[in-house]
C-alpha cells in the first residue's frame, strides 16, 4: 500500500474498500490498526472517509422513510389468510408452544411498553408502533424531526479530545441523569452508555447480539435501518440520542445530541447551543 511513502495532504493510498470496511466497523486486527493510523495521519484519507458517509447521508436524507399503515395492514391481512386464521385465535402447536411462550410474552410486554413510552412523547398510544420519522413531524410532542433533519454533526459537541473524523463521544446530562453516546475510534463499533437510573425499557431498542455495552441500534421507533442511540425518560424527562444514520455503523455525522423537556415544551439541545452537550 505504501503508506510509509504517503505525503500528507496530497493523496490517500488507502484502498477505498478498506475505508469502507472501516466505516462499517468491519476491519479487524492489524489491518484495522494500519488503517486507523493512516486516517489519523492523512487528512485526505479522512476526507475520503467522510465523503463515503456524506454520500450515504445524501441518499438517506433524500429518501425519507415513509410509513405506509395501509400497506402494512394489507400484508397482515394476507398473512392471516395464509395462516388460515386470525392471529388472535391462532393455535400453537403443543410441542413448540411451551418453548415459544416466553418469547411471545416478551413480545407482548415489549409491545405494551413501546405503546406506553410513545404515548408519553405525544404519539398515538393506540398504534402498535410509533410512526416513523417521516410522519412524526406533524405529530404533537417532542420536535424530533426538525432537529434530525438539520443534519448537525454530533462531532461539534464531542468531548474534548474526540476527533471528529475518527470518532466522537458526547456526554450529556438531562434532568440530572448523565450518560454518554459515542463511537470511535473510526473502525470501532458504536457504543452507548446509559446511567443506571434509566431503565432498560426506556432505552432505545438495540440490536440483539451486540456485545454488552456496545449497542448498535437496530430500531429507533421501529425503524430498523435508521438507527439511533438514546433513551427517553418519563413525561417530563429527557431524551438523548445520537444518530449514526445507518445500521451497525459508526455514527459520523450524528444529528442530535440531546433533547430535554423545558418549561415551554420540548426543546432539542443541539450542537452549538447552550445545553447539555459537552
Amino acid at each position: 500500500m505504501g503508506m510509509s511513502t504517503m505525503r500528507a495532504s496530497e493523496r490517500c493510498d488507502l484502498p477505498g474498500e478498506d475505508l469502507l470496511a472501516c466505516a462499517d466497523g468491519e476491519l479487524r486486527g492489524a489491518r484495522r490498526e494500519l488503517v486507523e493510523a493512516a486516517l489519523a495521519a492523512e487528512p485526505v484519507c479522512r476526507r475520503r472517509l467522510v465523503s463515503f458517509q456524506e454520500t450515504g447521508r445524501l441518499l438517506r436524507d433524500g429518501s425519507p422513510l415513509v410509513d405506509d399503515p395501509t400497506g402494512r395492514a394489507a400484508i397482515r391481512a394476507r398473512l392471516e389468510r395464509i395462516a388460515g386464521q386470525p392471529s388472535s385465535t391462532i393455535q400453537l402447536r403443543p410441542t413448540v408452544a411451551a418453548g415459544a411462550l416466553p418469547l411471545l410474552l416478551l413480545l407482548a410486554v415489549i409491545a405494551a411498553g413501546r405503546s406506553s413510552l410513545w404515548g408519553r412523547y405525544g404519539g398515538d398510544p393506540a398504534a402498535s408502533n410509533p410512526p416513523p420519522e417521516a410522519t412524526r413531524s406533524a405529530a404533537a410532542g417532542p420536535r424530533l424531526t426538525s432537529a434530525w433533519a438539520g443534519g448537525r454533526s454530533l462531532a461539534v459537541c464531542s468531548s474534548p479530545g474526540s476527533n471528529a473524523a475518527l470518532g466522537y463521544r458526547a456526554t450529556f446530562t438531562v434532568l440530572g441523569l448523565s450518560g454518554a453516546v459515542g463511537g470511535g475510534p473510526a473502525c470501532a463499533p458504536v457504543r452507548a452508555g446509559f446511567p443506571p437510573q434509566i431503565q432498560p425499557q426506556l432505552r432505545f431498542p438495540v440490536r440483539a447480539g451486540a456485545p454488552p455495552g456496545w449497542a448498535p441500534a437496530s430500531t429507533g421507533y421501529g425503524q430498523p435501518n435508521d438507527a439511533r442511540y438514546g433513551f427517553g425518560v418519563g413525561p417530563s424527562g429527557g431524551y438523548v440520542a445520537g444518530r449514526p444514520g445507518a445500521f451497525n455503523r459508526p455514527p459520523f455525522g450524528a444529528a442530535v445530541c440531546a433533547y430535554g423537556s423545558q418549561p415551554g415544551g420540548w426543546q432539542a439541545v443541539v450542537p452549538g447551543t447552550a445545553g447539555a452537550c459537552s
Binding site: 496530497e10 493523496r11 490517500c12 477505498g16 474498500e17 470496511a21 485526505v44 475520503r48 454520500t55 450515504g56 445524501l58 441518499l59 438517506r60 433524500g62 429518501s63 422513510l65 415513509v66 410509513d67 405506509d68 400497506g71 400484508i75 394476507r78 398473512l79 392471516e80 395464509i82 392471529s87 388472535s88 391462532i90 413448540v96 411471545l104 416478551l106 413480545l107 415489549i110 402498535s128 408502533n129 454518554a180 459515542g182 457504543r191 452508555g193 446509559f194 446511567p195 432498560p200 431498542p205 438495540v206 440483539a208 447480539g209 451486540a210 454488552p212 455495552g213 430500531t219 421501529g222 425503524q223 430498523p224 435501518n225 435508521d226 438507527a227 445507518a246 445500521f247 451497525n248 455503523r249
Partner: protein, 203 residues
Amino acid sequence: MLDAVDASAAWPGDQQIVAASRVGTVGAFATLVDRHHAPLLRYLTRQTGDAELAADLAQETFLAAFRSLGQLTDDGSFAAWLYGIARNRLRMEWRRRRLRRVVSLDWLPSGVEAVIPALRRPDVSRSCADRDVIQRALDTLSPPLREALLLHDLGGFGGEEVARILGISPAAARKRIVRAEAAFRRAHDAEHGMDGDEHDAGI
C-alpha cells in the same frame, strides 16, 4: 465515561421474533413487518423509481418470507435474508417486464385500449424528468452498482452483509460499493452542475 451496559437485553431482536413466528403466529411476524416495512419500501422505491411497484414488491417479499421462514438459518440475519428475497422478486419483475415489452400489442383491434387502458400503459411509470435528482443519479448506475450502493447506504448493511445478499465475496462487494459511490457522486454532482472530479482528486 461510557458505561458498559447490556442495552440489547430489553429489546427482542429479529431472531427472537423469527423464532416466535415459526410457531405460526402472524402477530409475531407482523412485528417484523412493522419493523422492516418502511426501510424495505424505501430501498425498493429507489431501486425501481416507482413507489407503486415498490409497494407491491414489498408486500410480495414479506409474504414470501413468511412462507419460507423455515429456510432461514438460525444464525442468519433476518434483514439480510429479507432483502435477498426482495432482490429476487425485483429480478423476477424486471424479467417479466422485459418479456412484456417484447410482446407486441399491435395485433390488438383498434380501440381496445379505450376499454382496457392498462394494455397501452408504458412500462416506465414516470418519465425521467419527473424523477428527483437522487433518482436520476441512481438511474445512471448499472443495476449491480445501484443495488450494492442502496443495500449499503439505504439498507444499512455492512460490506459483509451486502456480500451475503449478493452472493459474492466481501472484497468484491466492497469494491462494488466503492465504485457505485464514486459513480453516484459524479452523476449527482453533474445534475447540480458541479465538477464531480473534485471528489476523486487525490483519492
